[in-house]
């Protein structure tokens, strides 16, 4: 990394311009918990590292209107964890984010970094997809919003083009009687990369599901939104029959790889199990049990 330069950008424009000018040789630096590891191991060799943590918009948590949050792309896990209102509305997103690394990693790691790193196993991504969250992107051509489920194109690949930077994550306004949950499977209790992750976000009215989104991580080249799950779940009472059906659907949607962290067979089975458990957890949360 000996030829790298460092720039601490103060505004979105400064960051975006510098990135564009570098023509593909620059990387944004949020918490650095992915980027610095990659640079050290020689996987990435950027000429320019643009530190974006000092840009106000990227580092703030805004409640735009009651129950409607916009979270800056470089806000750390430790920081978001201190926002009690957010924790109440989006327990699943927060627990997914908080699962990333250790407390030390939490002191730095951001949702933006987790998303932009493009790993199919990023923990926050299925939770953000389930939440129906949008990525707010700034670039040379201005700002745009992209639903998270469309953000990833493949392992390490995202929709971001040269000069484009993720500014924030916009959450939909939270309705009453809704809750989300995220569960992952790792061999250890902590400090592990998800073998499978599952985010579920549901709303209930008189025990009938009125809204549902299910997302899986680490089971395909990109995190998946299981669209058909919503169709079956909405209007149902989420009884065992429905859950079994959707669980099967989750398993069918899996297109995982065999690697040191898990086998195809194992990942597929786990996806089905986690879906059920996460749905139960979210339902319990609506009922005020958890």
């Amino acid at each position: 990394m000996s030829d790298t330069q460092y720039l601490a950008a103060k505004t979105i424009d400064e960051a975006v311009n510098a990135h564009e000018k570098a023509n593909g040789t620059a990387r944004f630096l949020a918490g650095g918990t992915d980027l610095l590891v990659q640079i050290k191991s020689g996987i990435r060799k950027p000429n320019l590292v643009i530190d974006i943590k000092k840009i106000v918009e990227l580092n703030s948590i805004n409640e735009i209107s009651d129950g409607e949050f916009e979270v800056g792309a470089s806000v750390s896990g430790a920081n978001l964890n201190r926002n009690l209102k957010f924790a109440k509305l989006w327990p699943g997103v927060l627990e997914a984010f908080r699962l990333i690394g250790s407390e030390q990693i939490q002191g730095r790691a951001s949702l933006g970094g987790n998303l932009c790193n493009g790993s199919p196993a990023g923990d926050s991504v299925p939770a953000l997809i389930a939440a129906g969250c949008k990525a707010v992107i700034a670039g040379p051509k201005g700002k745009k919003d992209v639903p998270i489920e469309n953000f990833h194109l493949g392992p390490g690949k995202t929709v971001l083009e040269n000069g484009e930077m993720l500014v924030s994550l916009k959450f939909p306004k939270r309705e009453a009687n809704s809750a989300d949950a995220y569960l992952r499977m790792t061999p250890r209790t902590e400090m592990d990369i998800a073998v499978v992750g599952c985010g579920v976000n549901i709303s209930l009215e008189n025990n009938v599901c009125t809204h549902a989104r299910v997302s899986l991580g680490a089971v395909a080249p990109t995190p998946l939104l299981i669209k058909e799950a919503s169709d079956i779940m909405v209007g149902s009472k989420l009884d065992d029959d429905i859950l079994n059906k959707v669980s099967k659907m989750c398993m069918d949607a899996c297109n995982p790889i065999n690697d040191k962290r898990g086998t195809i067979d194992y990942r597929t089975k786990v996806a089905g199990v986690l879906f059920k458990r996460a749905t139960k957890l979210a339902t319990d949360r609506i009922g005020g049990n958890k």
Partner: protein, 159 residues
């Protein structure tokens, strides 16, 4: 390539240093500022032995660029005891044999301090999860967890 000048506060002292853009905070602490209490056991955020407190937040100094420290406030293990008196955690680690080889100890102490600063009366489970980013291969963590819980108890009593 020009070096970057950084002004920062470390352990309550104003410290300026010059660094390369790629130097990590840990590199500078250890190799330039002679603060070798922070250790590098992995260099990739997995072990916590490089833990420092940056503007009140616990972090791995191996995963921070030294250039990022401009204007910030850093606490390292070297600043933990004050005026020659050990911090309650340091004293308790000694009394409870919470260290064997001791290489992980500075990291555990910084992490434990950050924990008690944020949460003065943690449960055993909270201690265990908070310290999950600090590896110790010698102790099996048992005596470390006990030491932290005891300090928390004593702080409560004296408060």
């Amino acid at each position: 390539m020009a070096k970057i000048q950084v002004s920062t506060r470390i352990n309550n002292e104003n410290i300026d240093y010059l660094c390369e853009p790629h130097d990590t905070m840990l590199d500078i602490l250890r190799n330039q500022l002679n603060l070798t209490g922070s250790k590098e056991s992995c260099g990739s955020g997995d072990c916590g032995s490089c833990s420092v407190i940056l503007d009140g937040e616990l972090i791995c100094s191996c995963l921070m660029l030294a250039a990022e420290a401009e204007g910030s406030n850093i606490e390292t293990i070297e600043g933990m005891s004050e005026g020659g008196k050990l911090h309650a955690l340091q004293q308790k680690f000694l009394e409870k044999a919470a260290l064997q080889c001791g290489i992980c100890t500075p990291g555990f102490l910084m992490a434990s301090k950050a924990l008690l600063d944020h949460n003065p009366s943690p449960t055993e489970t909270e201690v265990r999860y908070w310290l999950a980013g600090n590896l110790c291969r010698c102790t099996g963590y048992d005596k470390i967890v006990k030491a932290v819980l005891e300090v928390a108890d004593e702080m409560k009593e004296s408060a």
